[in-house]
Amino acid sequence: MTPRPSKVAFVTVGATAPFDDLIAASLSSTVIATLSSLGYTDLRIQFGTGRQVFEQRLSATIGSRHSVSVSGFDFAESIREEIAAADLVISHAGSGSILDALRYQKILIVVPNESLMDNHQKELSEELERQGYLIEGHVEDLQNAIYKAEKAEFTHFPENGSKKFIKLVDEEMGVLSLD
């Protein structure tokens, strides 16, 4: 309902593992100044189990928020609406959030959680960055990733391939001849 055009950055840490470093980085004064200078009006953060970090850092930014209004929530049934409403998505490296952001064709920065053991998440974000679908970011210099993402030309991500899969399933079921 605000009269000025809103520009929303949405940060998501996912539902499975805590990622307090990403919450802290998103609420650092440099990142908020960067977002402000790029015309962002809103910062939404899905912080999962990191409510404490969120609230601490939030109170620390009072006075230096550069007209960026910050809000947050812990979990949601689906974060698709949040992604759909955002202009920029900064996400943990979970494949679900990545897919959602790519399908809504949002500017996407993926920050792998270095404290997690399985590195296949990192393989995914690296490969997707190599193909030009997203920018990989790091908690230490998130502002650089944001600048890079604002300027980048992204490749269009392919549509859902369910039709090809259903053809395979129908073949296995022996019902292809019904076509």
Partner: protein, 221 residues
């Protein structure tokens, strides 16, 4: 003495026959083509395993263009996984009813193969319980024409039950889809199931180099 020898011969004979039979039913050794027709008298059925969280989301995305008018669907979810059960119901609602009214869907709950963080010492027991649950799912609602799974542990149990039924002549086809998140390496369930499923589908081309049976059809989810 004679009885002992006869017993031994019979035992060895059973072992040899079992090995021959296993060789014939394991897709890695003996790939078989899918059926060209389906028996119209019996309504075809598909069993879709919902592995939880991300597995479930990917699975329902894979099936998003399924017709509700071709076969009955059974969604199998692990006990306590209300997320997957709710997602399956919402998915079916979006799919709409079968126009002919012939086909529908069912939900079946099975015990978990292994909870996150469960000790490996007790895992064999929970796996047995899960196996028993899979067996019951094959009795009611019934033996599916095709089983589709994408991990985790319960998928391994379900494919094991499929192989058991195959051993005795039932023809359930199996499809495994590796997660979109797997770019260069297979998941543990993927590695375990690779020799045992009829169709092994991956979503990144690089995986085909090492796992030559894998099929790559592009990103499917």
């Amino acid at each position: 003495m004679i009885l002992l020898i006869i017993g031994l011969v019979l035992f060895l004979w059973t072992v040899v026959l079992s090995i021959i039979r296993l060789h014939a039913i394991i897709p890695y050794f003996t790939p078989t083509p899918p059926p060209r027709f389906v028996d119209r008298k019996v309504r075809p059925a598909i069993m879709i395993l919902l592995g939880s969280g991300g597995h479930t989301a990917e699975m329902l995305s894979l099936f998003s263009t399924m017709s509700p008018d071709r076969y009955n669907r059974t969604y199998v979810f692990s006990s306590g996984d209300t997320f997957s059960a709710a997602k399956a119901v919402a998915f079916e609602r979006a799919l709409g009813p079968s126009k002919s009214g012939k086909f529908g869907y069912k939900l079946v709950e099975i015990p978990r193969a292994r909870r996150v963080g469960q000790s490996w010492l007790t895992t064999p027991f929970s796996c047995l319980l899960c196996l028993w649950g899979c067996l019951k799912a094959f009795m009611n609602p019934g033996i599916p024409n095709t089983l589709v799974c994408n991990g985790p542990g319960s998928a391994v149990m379900m494919v094991a039950i499929c192989l058991l039924f195959r051993f005795f002549g039932f023809r359930t086809r199996t499809v495994y889809v590796e997660s979109f998140a797997r770019v260069k390496t297979l998941s543990l369930s993927g590695k375990l199931l690779y020799p045992f499923v009829d169709r092994f589908v991956v979503q990144w081309p690089g995986l085909k180099e090492k796992w030559t049976r894998a099929e790559y059809l592009g990103v499917l989810v």
